[in-house]
């Protein structure tokens, strides 16, 4: 090896500098990494580690995007979590201890989410983990959580295989198996649309939703005349819209997120195609209204909660959200809010113990929820059974419950 490294004369000064810089770097990393001693191998310890009288907060780990292209979803999560914690800790917390979360930015990137996972499993304070956002980031970390016996509560993970990663993987995300038929029935049966043009986000979520949507639409007798898949970074829909126009649909279905959904509707407004638009529940967001402006007026959404819903859970959430953030709540924030409440219910039963929390998923029943009404987990699928849907329409720049009038009247 000498011959190779000796090929050129040495430059001593810079070498020393470099080595010391490098050594300092290495030391700093290890210093950072040295958490409280890794007594974290908790899975087999049944009893809570600390005495019940402890006043230390109970910590929840969150792995999600705070920087990078998906950062906006992480920001929405935080709003939902904070709102739920305000209420939970305002009432004295859980088992007399405050609930807090540690949010580690993963950029929704698998090589960072696995590192974050290792950080959480090694930290004995963390009793449950929430996230990550995208499937590649979440499912790459699953083996680590499963092995360490820390619940990975992937609350936005609709990927059908997510909860199959192990018995520590749980999710309260509606799967496409529920969402897609509901969307198809809304478009065809309720709104009476027969020739559908579908735009869908070409991610694991959008693709799976579309596949099931298409099957169900055919079953109930609706024709899909155009299907346009697009990638998350797509912005230019004009060419695709021209194609869709030529297919002469009588309705457009959006299996989209807020920003891309708003773009499609806006760019659609510049064409002469004027047909009703029906969106999936993910469009239920003030961002969709803000980005879409006047163009999104009259868009139908098969939502999962309505801000006007008189249920006290929904009203408590909507009122508190408006008061705290001075904006309308969205689907992602509502989901995060629900999730934190489920976590509180779990810890209430199980105490701050990793394995007991996993077991508590089968014990909690009818936890009040903004999105589901009441949440009970199915121990087989490790998901929530029977999500509910409400029909919304954008009216005067707001989401309101659709009263069944002005059918297909855009």
């Amino acid at each position: 090896m000498n011959r190779f490294f000796n090929r050129c004369a040495s430059v001593r000064r810079s070498k020393l500098n470099l080595l010391s810089v490098f050594a300092a770097l290495a030391m700093a990393v290890s210093a950072c990494a040295v958490q409280p001693p890794p007594a974290a191998k908790l899975p087999d310890q049944a009893a809570p580690a600390q005495p019940a009288a402890s006043t230390e907060p109970i910590y929840i780990g969150v792995s999600g995007p705070l920087t990078g292209p998906n950062a906006r979803y992480g920001v929405q999560w935080k709003k939902g979590f904070d709102l739920a914690l305000d209420a939970i800790n305002g009432k004295g917390g859980v088992r007399g201890r405050k609930l807090e979360y540690i949010f580690e930015d993963s950029q929704s990137d698998p090589k960072q989410s696995v590192v974050v996972a290792q950080k959480f499993v090694a930290d004995p304070r963390i009793v449950i983990e929430l996230g990550d956002f995208s499937s590649p980031a979440s499912m790459a970390a699953s083996p680590i959580y499963q092995r360490a016996g820390l619940v990975q509560f992937g609350f936005t993970n609709s990927h059908p295989d997510f909860t199959k990663g192990g018995d520590y993987m749980w999710s309260n995300s509606a799967t496409q198996a529920d969402l897609s038929p509901a969307l198809a029935e809304f478009a065809h049966n309720t709104l009476g649309l027969n020739r559908l043009a579908v735009f869908y986000l070409n991610t694991d979520w959008g693709k799976a939703t579309y596949d099931l949507f298409q099957k169900h639409a055919q079953k109930i007798g609706a024709e899909i005349v155009a299907a346009e898949a697009y990638l998350p970074d797509e912005k230019d829909f004009r060419s695709a819209l021209t194609r869709v126009r030529d297919a002469q649909p009588d309705g457009i279905v959006l299996i989209s997120y807020q920003a891309d959904g708003a773009q499609i509707v806006q760019q659609l407004a510049t064409t002469d195609l004027k047909v009703p638009i029906v969106g999936a529940s993910s469009l239920h967001s003030p961002d969709f209204l803000r980005l879409g402006g006047a163009a999104v007026e009259g868009v139908y959404i098969r939502g999962q909660f309505s801000p006007e819903d008189p249920r006290p859970t929904v009203q408590a959430f909507v009122q508190a959200y408006r008061a705290k953030y001075n904006e309308e709540p969205d689907f992602f924030a509502a989901h995060a809010y629900d999730t934190m409440n489920i976590v509180a219910a779990l810890i209430e039963i199980a105490g701050p113990d990793r394995k007991a929390i996993r077991d508590a998923f089968t014990k909690i029943k009818d936890v009040p929820s903004v999105i589901y009404g009441k949440v009970t987990f199915n121990p087989e699928t490790r998901r929530v059974a029977n999500p509910q849907f409400v029909d919304l329409i954008v009216k005067d720049g707001k989401f309101v419950t659709w009263d069944g009038s002005q059918k297909a009247g855009r």
Partner: protein, 612 residues
């Protein structure tokens, strides 16, 4: 319905021309900078994004009309352009070309994050203040904004043409682009000209940003990367450094994309673009309009590889480091630390493969993540569908990555210097698109889940420490293999080829075969890393090995020192650990990362351990 198709055709033509106009504006800026400074400016996309934000602030916050908005955007972007030239280029002028390239990557990181911190990561609504009415012109429907975009692009291009053609300053600029030294000897202040070039390029980029903001009715911090990719592609299509080429390349790109989408759908947009781009490059290696511009006479060394003395790492340090690495799990059983280093070893393998292809053989590769992806998918599929034992599927995955990746890169072999870099970027994109669209094999966006975990001779390797050792062992074997290659006759031939292709050929070296050998060896190592990653993650899809991974790998190599194997490992450790080190900074950590990268380049432009 013949009239119907005609209308569709006309509408798609307008769609393509409008977006093509904006690509052209970005491409002109890149072409100017490339012509004068011989630099691929990675920060150009960020300038375009900041231009869009400045315009958005003027229009939606201040309620200004478009005229003053464009003036403010132009002034702000010009200032930003001059600043980038100062920070990223001027001080690094005497260093290797690679240093400014890395500096612009650092600047673009920092700028993107800064905007995200100020304006939040949420996209902002940018309603066009123009009327939404559309007029029918001979059966073609054209909106006010479409017309404005066309008018502004044509005006800008005409003004630029007049400036370059008829003013003394423009002559000085062209003279600098033709021959910097000669221009300097004739009394041209080349530094001032260079700053001017950056300013002009930034103004064009910024105006393009404002218009795209209105066209897509929103601005968002991450809009820079995609725009840059399109700018590069348009440039390559037209011929690097050619301004008319950039305009026509941009328009062509817009049309190709639009009709590609019209034929196949949006998901195929980039596949279509890059396949055509590579096709054009193979037929006309200098782009469509670069023919009369001779290839830069300098060999690649002058362009990319710094003249520096590498740091001599004594053998005891290498061995000491290795021993420390092996013993690490005994010193600290913290899985967080071990996972960071496991990632570092896997990235070090990617960096080794890049340093071999780029540093030793002189083929600048920006598509090396494609090899990771092929390796990962091949190994996962062999283990899942055919039930191969893991050690076999890992090796087979690596071999398939080497073979398939090299085959796909074959058309690039006749290209030189920067063209290779951008064409490999395109190939990386093509591989990604194939994975996305070949659903029967790869399961498309749903990806492959439940990939069998790592194991060795039937023993599962699932705990953190054994995975760490496994990755380290693979790295050591790969490094020894590569080191032997570099010591051999083959290594000398690669270096000869890197130093001077013409001379190497004169000595009877078959360039294509030796380039292929470099890609095969490098591809094998990268493929092994990708295969290992797939089994470690248990789930992969098209996003797992994203194109930005290639850029990250190259950054590691440049940071450590081109062609320097210890440098590649050090660079990989540094860039894996730094973002973790900055974790307490939360939202600001990638901003700081960009600034640190910039400072490292500023004070150590030939890489931490120097270029071999």
């Amino acid at each position: 319905m013949p009239e119907f198709t005609l209308r569709t055709l006309a509408d798609q033509l307008v769609n393509g021309l409008v977006i093509g106009n904006i690509y052209a504006l970005i491409a002109i800026g890149l072409a100017l900078i490339f012509g004068v400074a011989n630099l691929i400016n990675f920060a150009h996309g960020s300038v375009y994004m900041i231009g869009a934000y400045v315009g958005w602030v003027c229009v939606t916050w201040l309620g200004w009309p478009l005229g003053p908005t464009f003036i403010v955007v132009a002034v702000a972007c010009a200032a930003l352009g001059v600043l980038i030239e100062r920070l990223g280029l001027r001080r690094l002028q005497s260093e290797a070309r690679i240093a400014p390239l890395l500096a612009t990557i650092g600047i673009s990181f920092a700028l993107d994050q800064l905007v995200q911190l100020i304006f939040s990561p949420n996209p902002q609504s940018f309603p066009s203040p123009l009327p939404a009415t559309r007029v029918m012109l001979g059966g073609v429907s054209i909106g006010a904004l479409d017309a404005l975009i066309a008018v502004i692009t044509v005006t800008s291009a005409a003004m630029l043409f007049a400036f370059l053609r008829f003013t003394r300053l423009g002559w000085a600029l062209r003279a600098t682009a033709q021959d910097r030294e000669a221009a300097q000897q004739m009394g041209v202040d080349v530094n001032a000209i260079q700053a001017l070039t950056f300013a002009v390029a930034a103004v064009l980029g910024g105006i393009g940003g404002v218009m795209i903001g209105m066209y897509f009715t929103s601005v968002y911090p991450t809009m820079s990367y995609g725009a840059m990719l399109k700018g590069f592609a348009a440039n390559l299509l037209g011929g690097l450094g050619s301004v008319p080429g950039a305009v026509i390349g941009g328009l062509l790109l817009g049309l190709i994309e639009t009709f590609g989408v019209a034929l196949l759908g949006s998901t195929y947009r980039n596949l279509f673009t890059f396949v055509i781009l590579i096709g054009v490059l193979v037929l006309r290696p200098t782009g469509l309009f670069g023919a009369r511009r001779a290839m830069p006479p300098e060999p690649l060394t002058g362009t990319f590889v710094a003249n520096s003395r590498p740091v001599r790492v004594p053998r005891f340090v290498v061995i000491g480091g290795l021993v420390a690495a092996v013993l690490l799990p005994f010193i600290s059983s913290n899985p967080y630390l071990l996972q960071i280093f496991t990632n570092a070893w896997l990235f070090a393998m990617l960096a080794l493969s890049i340093t071999l292809v780029t540093g030793t053989a002189g083929q600048m590769s920006l598509g090396q993540a494609g090899f990771l992806a092929i390796g990962g998918y091949a190994s996962a599929l062999l283990a899942m569908r055919l039930g191969w034992p893991l050690e076999l599927s890992l090796l087979a995955g690596a071999a398939i990555a080497a073979a398939l990746g090299t085959l796909l890169t074959w058309p690039v072999f006749r290209l030189r210097s920067q063209y290779v870099a951008l064409a490999t970027l395109g190939i990386g994109e093509v591989i990604n698109q194939i994975i996305l669209n070949w659903e029967g094999l790869t399961n498309g966006v749903l990806g492959l889940s439940n990939i069998p975990p790592l194991s060795l001779f039937g023993l599962p390797i699932i705990e953190t420490s054994p995975i760490y050792w496994f990755a380290l062992a693979m790295l050591v074997v790969a490094a020894l293999f590569q080191w032997r290659l570099m010591q051999s006759h083959l290594g000398r031939t690669w270096r000869a080829m890197r130093e001077d292709e013409v001379a190497a050929r004169a000595f009877g070296v078959s360039l294509n075969r030796y380039k292929a050998l470099a890609f095969i060896a490098g591809g094998f190592i990268a493929g092994l890393s990708g295969a290992f990653t797939a089994h470690m993650y248990s789930y992969i899809n098209n996003e797992t090995f994203a194109a930005t991974t290639s850029i990250l790998g190259l950054t590691m190599v440049i940071l450590g020192g081109m062609g320097n194997m210890s440098g590649a490992v050090v660079g990989a450790i540094a860039l894996t650990a730094l973002p973790e080190l900055f974790r307490p900074l939360a939202d600001a950590r990638y901003l700081i990362y960009g600034v640190v990268l910039l400072l490292l380049v500023r004070f150590r432009p030939q890489g931490l351990l120097g270029t071999v």
